[in-house]
């Protein structure tokens, strides 16, 4: 306490204390001199002797001030001022260093904030570790996790004891509601009554569902729960919303609760409605439910999996037709949510750490050059009695200043670039990364990460010149003045830094090259149809007289100017439904297989311009009353009827809880149902009048501008029934483009990272050679003077540059071979070691490096030898 007070006092009375110290030391000298005079020395001599004995007065004063303690602060301010001035006076160095590091810090902070939001932050539910996702899985098929069937879910739920709660849900549906004047289509999720309890989230207003909601959706009336988003945007945050009745397609819905803003799952759902009505719970073969469970406190995931597996085994024995070979997969819910982005994000994190590595190496190189040119300053300061510690502190302060400035710049950049990151993606929630958009923010974890990165850069920035200056022997430096003595050792650190930059750059460049090639491959994938002019439009249906409405509406749509052809299909994309099927009279050994299923009107094939390979298309003969017919795609024909004629054979469909037998009338060419990375799946198509689906999607080919045609078609639909809502519309080209939006994002990010990397590496090479040329100017001048041709000089320097670049590139290629293998999952039909890509990027980088060292080399060759020598 006393000590602190003394320090504080010292701080306050600094000036007085300084004066006091000065007086004290002069008194010492004065008294000493007087005593010496008394013992007989001449006054002049006595003063000298006293002085000599005392030593460096300034140094003694400084050391004494050091004992006061607060002086460090004082000196730090001094160092700060000096450092600022120093940096200010070298704007080129300072600018490049700050910019380089800001880019590195910004990019890594941006990527980390996405990683943090998606992978690191715990789920916003109580005890998130207890939440698991339960999938059905068939190991005799491809073994990928699938959804569950309602009947399986019910059995799991009833028979298992590991779970506190187990809920099922099914998303991606639309509800038509009349809130205002016009009907609106609202994205909903259908959920079991205990859905909210499973997550452990309590409604903000009202209550959640009750068991009776699920069992008894009295015809035309149901209970619904609103998301906070829907409550705010669609109902103006009405505080009396609970109990309000809303008109919906098949009757009315009563709002029973509103969820808090944090709860948004599944992501796009604005309203939750009960699932499991109307015999749905009896479906066993159709697997379209997702299942989330909350484990009992203390129950392990393995125990739960073991229990469910044995239940699944029993179900497989009990229902061999539907469940043979089907088992379960239990994974942590957090993992389930990010399964599609986890690997890509870690790869991006790895890529961005290369950027920061290059940035650090680059700035370290710059600092090295700068500290070499500051040797004289350092030497002079040492000779004047500055302590080494003080010099190191000075360097550290300068490093810190640069790192602070670049951290500030980096944070700004990160903020801006995460926005840009998400702007590169279409804002549809089925694109995996978009889900995490709202979670991306500068929270504690991100800030800690940034602080960590900038501390590392500050250390690198400081350490390089410190290591360099520690080697500096005082005497030698004074002797050599600016240190123009050539020593190859001196350049070695710099050369290593440049080689490292080139090596890192080639890894990124190779990654970018591979992604670009994959992307081009993806764009060139054969879809099986011509997407130009295709429009996909949700097709609303009235509650009654659907058949009449469809006939009338389709008629008018086809008559609409600009429409070439139009058809209805059962899902918003081609063949998105899954139904188990088998072949009649010759069942498959593996049991039922899942095939894609589409119900289409007869013009479907004409709209998509598909080729009929065998048999015939659907026509008027295949009416609702006629015997059931079916068409198959080429893929199915090849897989299940190899070398046979499928026409006339019969397929059995496990359609809901019936088994329907249908005769094959035609084989049609393949349509790629999923994204370009997915293979074409076996598909069956049925005729709409024979098997109308609950929801319909209009697919049409426009001869004119999509927007105009779409508006005209909307009017045509409204001319039949004015009370129908407008449904979302998309052109096929947009849809295809958003299918590849995520790979495109990865490609762009890698592209940007590698562009930065190449630019920095080029800067590094350029800096090294500009420096070497500068240092060797004398030698080069002498060479010119004694008759070496200028081209020899250029060759000498460029030759060294090429040697260095090739070393870096070869080392980098070695690393690339190992690292690109990790990104195999992001590649499409391109080998991670694709020779063409690797050779291409190596040549590109070599060319860049060549240019970067050619410029200083040529400048060196052009210098007048006399001027260069005189410079010394």
């Amino acid at each position: 306490m006393q000590r602190l007070w003394n320090r504080l006092k010292a701080l306050l009375y600094r000036r007085r204390k300084d004066q006091d110290l000065h007086d004290e030391l002069s008194a010492h000298l004065q008294m000493d001199a007087e005593e010496r005079m008394e013992s007989g020395l001449a006054p002049e001599e006595a003063r000298h002797a006293a002085r000599r004995d005392f030593g460096n007065v300034l140094l003694v004063a400084e050391d004494t001030r050091g004992a006061w303690g607060w002086i460090t602060l004082e000196q730090l301010l001094q160092d700060l001022r000096y450092g600022l001035r120093n940096l200010w006076n070298r704007p080129a160095f300072t600018g490049i260093a700050i910019l380089t590091l800001a880019v590195g810090i910004g990019a890594s902070t941006a990527i980390f904030s996405v990683v943090n939001a998606a992978l690191l932050r715990p789920l916003p539910y109580p005890q998130p570790d207890q939440l698991v996702a339960v999938h059905s899985v068939n190991h005799t098929q491809d073994g990928t996790p699938r959804n569950a069937s309602p009947a399986d879910f019910r059995d799991w739920q009833e028979e298992s004891t590991s779970f506190e709660q187990m809920a099922g849900y099914s998303g991606a549906a639309l509800l038509v509601a009349w809130i205002g004047e016009r009907p609106e289509t609202i994205p909903i999720a259908r959920v079991t009554w205990n859905f909210f309890q499973t997550f452990g989230v309590v409604p903000l207003l009202g209550h959640g569902f009750e068991e009776s909601d699920e069992l008894n959706p009295a015809a035309g009336s149901m209970n619904i729960v609103l998301s906070h988003r829907a409550w705010r945007a669609r109902f103006g945050s009405d505080p009396a919303i609970v109990g309000r009745k809303i008109k919906v397609t098949y009757g009315s819905a009563t709002v029973v609760g509103v969820m808090p803003p944090e709860f948004r799952f599944p992501d796009d759902a604005e309203i939750w409605i009960p699932i499991g009505c109307c015999g749905e719970m009896n479906l066993r073969a159709t697997r379209y439910w997702r299942v989330v469970g909350r484990l009992h406190d203390g129950t392990s995931l393995e125990a739960a999996r073991g229990e469910l597996e044995s239940i699944a085994e029993r179900l497989a024995a009990q229902y061999p037709k539907d469940n043979k070979n089907w088992s379960v997969l239990v994974i942590p819910f957090a993992q389930h949510l990010v399964s599609d982005v986890r690997q890509a994000l870690w790869i991006l994190m790895g890529a961005v750490s290369f950027v920061i590595l290059i940035a650090c190496a680059n700035v370290a190189g710059l600092t090295l050059v700068r500290s070499a040119s500051r040797r004289r300053e350092m030497a002079v300061r040492l000779a004047l009695g500055a302590s080494r510690l003080r010099l190191i502190r000075q360097l550290f302060v300068e490093g810190l200043l640069v790192s602070l400035a670049s951290t500030a710049g980096g944070l700004l950049l990160a903020r801006w670039s995460t926005d840009a990151f998400f702007r590169l993606l279409p804002q549809t929630s089925w694109i995996p990364l978009v889900r995490f958009r709202d979670g991306v923010q500068l929270d504690v974890a991100v800030l800690l990460f940034t602080i960590f990165i900038s501390t590392v850069t500050a250390i690198v920035l400081t350490l390089t010149p410190v290591v360099d200056s520690l080697k500096l022997a005082l005497a030698e430096s004074v002797r050599t003045g600016s240190g123009k003595v050539q020593s190859s050792r001196e350049h070695r650190v710099y050369k290593v830094l440049v080689v490292a930059q080139l090596a890192c750059a080639i890894v990124l460049l190779a990654g970018a090259g591979l992604l670009i090639r994959s992307f081009v491959r993806m764009l060139n994938v054969e879809n099986g149809y011509d997407p130009r002019g295709l429009i996909i439009m949700g097709f609303p249906q009235p509650a009654q007289n659907q058949k009449a409405f469809i006939d009338e509406a389709l008629e008018r749509i086809k008559a609409t100017p600009g429409v070439e052809s139009a058809a209805l299909m059962s899902s918003p994309r081609f063949g998105q439904l899954n139904f188990p099927m088998n072949i009649e009279n010759k069942p498959l050994l593996t049991g039922d297989v899942v095939a894609r299923y589409s119900s289409v009107t007869s013009d479907y094939f004409r709209v998509l311009k598909l080729r009929l390979i065998a048999g015939r298309l659907f026509d008027e003969r295949d009416s609702a009353k006629a015997p059931g017919v079916i068409m198959i795609n080429e893929r199915l024909a090849r897989e299940f009827f190899p070398g046979e004629d499928p026409i006339g054979r019969k397929i059995v469909l496990a359609y809901n809880d019936q088994r329907l037998s249908r005769a094959i009338v035609g084989v049609v060419s393949d349509v790629r149902q999923d994204g370009p990375r997915e293979p074409v799946r076996p598909e069956v198509l049925v005729h709409w009048p024979q098997a109308p689906w609950l929801a319909a999607t209009l697919v049409m080919r426009a001869k004119e501008d999509a927007g105009t045609v779409q508006r005209a078609v909307q009017q045509a639909i409204w001319s039949v029934d004015r009370n129908l809502p407008a449904y979302p519309t998309q052109t096929m080209e947009e849809a295809l483009s958003s299918q590849v939006a995520t790979p495109r994002l990865y490609m762009i990010l890698f592209g940007v990272f590698s562009a930065v990397a190449v630019a920095l590496a080029a800067l590094g090479v350029y800096g090294l050679f500009a420096y070497i040329v500068g240092r060797r100017m004398n030698e080069l001048a002498i060479r010119v003077a004694v008759g070496d041709r200028r081209s020899t000089i250029v060759r000498l320097i460029v030759g060294e540059g090429i040697r260095l670049s090739i070393t870096g590139i070869l080392l980098g290629l070695l690393g690339t071979m190992i690292l690109t293998r990790l990104m195999r999952s992001l590649l499409f039909e391109v080998s991670p070691n694709d020779a063409l890509t690797l050779a291409g990027v190596a040549l590109l980088l070599l060319a860049v490096a060549f240019t970067a060292c050619y410029i200083p080399a040529r400048r060196a060759a052009k210098t007048d030898p006399v001027a260069a020598l005189r410079h010394e």
């Binding site: 000590r3 007086d23 008294m31 050391d63 004494t64 004992a67 303690g69």
Partner: protein, 116 residues
């Protein structure tokens, strides 16, 4: 620490300068020069304390509250800064002294001629 060891002068052990100063000031206030001279004469010229060590040490001890300082006029009419021991300083001196005694004894024990 004082580092001037030509001929038979010896380096002052790390940390012992503080103790020496406390010891000298036992006998009353002194200024810096007088402290240095006293140490030198009492050690029969074996210890020479440099200003560069003395003043930082004095200021450090003052900072720690073991010394107090005030400006006084010397017998010869010179104004100088006189240091004196505080109560804390006396306690510290006792502590240092006993520590020193023990150290001396220990060194003595180690250094005595070995008995055959």
């Amino acid at each position: 620490m004082a580092i001037k060891s030509h001929e038979n002068r010896i380096d002052v052990l790390q940390g012992t300068l503080d103790m020496l100063i406390l010891q000298i000031l036992q006998r009353g206030p002194r200024h810096g020069l007088a402290i240095a001279q006293t140490i030198r004469s009492r050690s029969e010229d074996l210890l020479k304390i440099e200003a560069g060590s003395l003043y930082p040490a004095l200021h450090r001890l003052e900072q720690q509250g073991w010394l107090a300082a005030e400006w006084k006029t010397s017998d010869k009419g010179q104004r100088a800064k006189y240091y004196r021991l505080t109560r804390e300083g006396r306690k510290q001196h006792l502590a240092e002294q006993s520590k020193w005694q023990r150290l001396l004894k220990a060194i003595h024990l180690v250094m005595r001629p070995t008995e055959e």
